[in-house]
């Protein structure tokens, strides 16, 4: 079991309120990702759930029991830190066994669990090494191993992949997703990387300045962002947002259109524009096109290669059924 509930949880450091009172329910077995820009309070929120920070107000409930005053050691949660936080003076084996040792488990039971975890995480050959002798990816796996042996009610991940290089990051992302499928345990994952959020989450919580902007499945957030912040944050490259007369034509203050929902043509279309920088990814090409519709250049995605160069004149046509409309407060208009 691993249902976690936050009721009116808030956090202040001195007179600065970093998290105004918020409510959130995380269901058992869910993979929830907290995402937002740096300093949005996502890590603080995770630490409040872990018990590493005390809440300034409200209640944290784990599996129906009030855990607000319960110390981190007794909450039955396991955490994987950004810096891995392995014990440098202990071997891999002792690192993984540490929570079991603290729980007072017998040596034989410890060994069995450590071996099982090491097998799952491909660490069997490294059990006698010290963390200093491992690569970044291996260290991350040890940290995960230390978390899974406890069979916690929920796993908490605090930006666990941000110290890894890009290739390793993709690999570990898949491994963590697979682990979630296999263990079927609640996972809460903090990241500033919206790609990680989109690819891993059952449910994404978008935070800005300690406030939950939207909660939903990745596709919900992508297709129906509740406001301009979520619209701009989720999706890469980000959604084009146009203000002014062009938005007024659609009875909105701001309209948004994703790069893949604009058709590009050399002969005809709604907006005439000039091609600026193009980014060639092989599978796709992103053109930055300056048009009269918007002060900012619009990003347009074209599949495959397109023979368009710097300064070429093009015509852009947004697909009307994919147009997002927002009011003067930035909230979505239906």
């Amino acid at each position: 079991m691993g249902q976690i509930q936050l009721n009116q949880v808030s956090k202040s450091f001195g007179s600065v309120e970093v998290i105004p009172p918020l409510d959130l329910t995380i269901e058992d077995g869910e993979f929830v990702v907290f995402v937002g820009p740096s300093g949005c309070g996502k890590s603080t929120l995770l630490r409040l759930i872990a018990g590493l920070e005390d809440v300034s107000g409200g209640h944290v409930t784990i599996d129906g029991a009030d855990a607000t005053a319960v110390p981190p050691a007794k909450r039955g949660l396991a955490m994987v830190f950004q810096s891995y936080a392995l014990y440098p003076h202990m071997s891999v084996k002792k690192n993984i066994a540490f929570p079991l040792r603290m729980a007072g488990l017998g040596q034989a039971a410890q060994d069995k669990k450590v071996e099982d975890a090491a097998r799952v995480l491909n660490l069997t050959d490294y059990l006698d090494r010290k963390p200093g002798q491992l690569s970044g990816g291996q260290r991350q796996r040890v940290a995960i191993g230390r978390a899974i042996v406890r069979e916690p009610a929920a796993f908490l991940f605090d930006e666990p992949l941000s110290n890894l290089d890009a290739a390793l990051r993709v690999g570990m992302r898949l491994e963590i997703s697979e682990l979630h499928k296999r263990l079927d345990t609640t996972m809460i994952y903090v990241t500033h990387d919206q790609v990680e959020a989109m690819t891993m989450a059952d449910k994404i919580v978008v935070l800005q300045a300690g406030v939950i902007e939207q909660v939903g499945s990745p596709l919900e957030l992508y297709q129906r962002p509740r406001n301009t912040f979520v619209a701009g944050f989720i999706g890469s490259p980000k959604m084009n947002q146009i203000e002014g007369p062009e938005a007024a034509k659609h009875d909105a203050t701001t309209i948004g259109i994703r790069p893949e929902h604009i058709d590009i043509s050399e002969t005809e279309g709604t907006w005439k524009g000039t091609v600026g920088v193009s980014e060639h990814l092989g599978s796709d090409t992103f053109f930055h096109v300056q048009t009269e519709a918007s002060a900012e250049p619009l990003t347009v995605r074209a599949t495959g290669e397109r023979a368009l160069g710097y300064g070429d004149t093009v015509y852009l046509t947004p697909r009307p059924d994919h147009l997002h409309r927002f009011d003067s407060k930035g909230l979505r208009l239906e």
Partner: protein, 277 residues
């Protein structure tokens, strides 16, 4: 391009460093030589001392016969080791709380502690002497252990604080998440990681206490007199006996010199800990 250093430059540097080292070591060397001379030969001109006759071990025997070396030695050991470990007992919790649960006044407290080291000790001699007299602590080992512990406590706290600061807080948090109590966290995680730092703190403070000559000379006469008192007793009203004084000095500094020699690697590592990531 890396900075190029010519062979000539290197030899010059080596020569300068060697000369400086010799100049610094010379007093100790001269004491060592004098300690092996007879009293009569020890006061001759330097060249005669070096190349003349009169080599003997008599001074050492005379010193041991006149004053009980081992009593002073054991006093020095008790005082330096005792004050260091008593200091650790107080400094570890103090440094832990300042490093891991800092408040906005932590820096001020640290500076205040350090500032007490800037006060000349003689400034508090009279109050401390009177306190010692009234509490019957004069010429007792426990009295010296306390006073030297207090004198070195700021240094112990500062050193441990610096080492503890180097230990990432996340590792201690991980221990907390793994179910460790505060005691287990300090015992199984913090202490093993801080051992190099603690070792050099202990070494440095044992050396400082061993060599401390102001309080040990002021507050002891015979019962608790450490080796500093033992040396000082040889500059007596009866006149200076160079050979015996030298022999006494060598006997006093030899233990700490040998300990320092064997632990220099640990000392340097401890003192530069964290300077280079």
């Amino acid at each position: 391009m890396a900075r190029a250093v010519s062979t000539g430059q290197k030899s010059l540097n080596t020569a300068i460093a060697g000369t400086l080292g010799l100049v610094m070591f010379f007093p100790v060397l001269w004491i060592l030589i004098l300690s092996f001379k007879t009293e009569e030969n020890a006061i001759r001109a330097p060249l005669e001392v070096l190349f003349g006759s009169g080599w003997t071990l008599d001074s050492f025997a005379a010193v041991q016969a006149r004053s009980d070396y081992f009593k002073h030695f054991s006093n020095s050991v008790v005082i330096s080791v005792g004050s260091t470990f008593l200091g650790l007992l107080i400094a570890v919790p103090a440094a832990w709380s300042m490093a891991f649960v800092p408040t906005k006044h932590t820096k001020n407290v640290l500076m205040w502690m350090l500032s007490t080291k800037m006060l000349p000790p003689v400034g508090v001699l009279i109050p401390i002497y009177l306190i010692f007299r009234d509490f019957g602590l004069l010429d007792t080992r426990i009295g010296l252990v306390i006073v030297l512990m207090l004198m070195n406590l700021p240094i112990i706290v500062w050193m441990l604080y610096t080492y503890f600061k180097e230990i990432p807080g996340e590792i201690l948090e991980a221990a907390r998440m793994d179910g460790a109590s505060l005691r287990e966290e300090i015992l199984y995680v913090l202490t093993p990681m801080a051992i190099p730092g603690m070792a050099s703190t202990v070494l440095l403070n044992v050396i400082l206490s061993w060599n401390e000559a102001f309080w040990t000379l002021q507050l002891t006469t015979s019962d608790a007199a450490p080796l500093t008192q033992f040396i000082a007793s040889y500059s007596s009203p009866e006149g200076l006996f160079y050979a015996k004084l030298s022999a006494a000095s060598i006997m006093a500094i030899a233990p700490i010199l040998i300990m320092g020699w064997f632990s220099q690697k640990q000392l340097v590592r401890g003192l530069t800990f964290g300077a280079v990531k």
